[in-house]
Symmetry: C2
Subunit: 133 residues, 2 copies
């Protein structure tokens, strides 16, 4: 467990790796993002993606899973109130192996809640070729 | 199906409603965000949330589901490359009924891909009391 005083800008965390298969991509999409390029190999070919691709929200959810299981363990849990920016530069494809690299950017004690505070991070999810997804 | 010329700033879309129960909250969290305040009623009481709350990524994924099922139907699908900002002002609780309200902010033809373009929207997910989550 890490407390506010344990965090400092520049610290880096690297997660474990996680492999994503077609079944997981389709199962997530069926529940949350039922569009042909996320649910059906055949139908995906004629789309923008040119083949099956994970929902961007699946990529985001897997990023959270990898973060929660990493050594980035703030006491009280990982609770986000905002993201300044999110980018999906590249789709996740069946068979991709993802990991997350995070860097602490800012540490700020709360002005209203003594003993509490927030940590601002940049997290990048990379595939097996080191490309951000 | 809506094409680029069908979109204009100021257009509004309202989704259907969707009720979230404790089982769905725990199932999502077990897979993607296994922290006590998302997975266990009892353990959640002593946390920041004071009781079971949905993962923010679950809220985001449900928002996508509601959008995909709404009348906001761009030809080619809803494909996002970035979000300028995301906020989670309030947790989703078991029993909450969500809907999404979206407004078109900007419509821009692609400079590199003739016949294509992008639509920028603001989407807000509201609970049964009209509060943004």
């Amino acid at each position: 467990m890490l407390y506010l005083e344990n965090f400092a800008p520049g610290q880096r965390y690297v997660s474990n790796k996680l492999r994503v298969d077609a079944a997981a991509i389709k199962a997530f999409a069926a529940q949350f993002d039922p569009q042909p390029f996320h649910t059906d190999d055949e139908a995906a070919r004629g789309t923008f993606f040119g083949g099956l691709a994970a929902s961007g929200w699946h990529t985001a959810a897997l990023t959270m899973k990898l973060l929660v299981e990493s050594d980035f363990r703030p006491a009280g849990g990982i609770i986000g109130t905002r993201a300044d920016e999110m980018k999906w530069p590249r789709p996740v494809r069946p068979g991709d192996e993802l990991h997350v690299e995070s860097e602490v950017l800012k540490v700020r004690p709360s002005t209203s809640r003594p003993g509490q505070g927030s940590v601002k991070c940049r997290s990048t999810t990379l595939n097996q070729d080191g490309e951000p997804v």
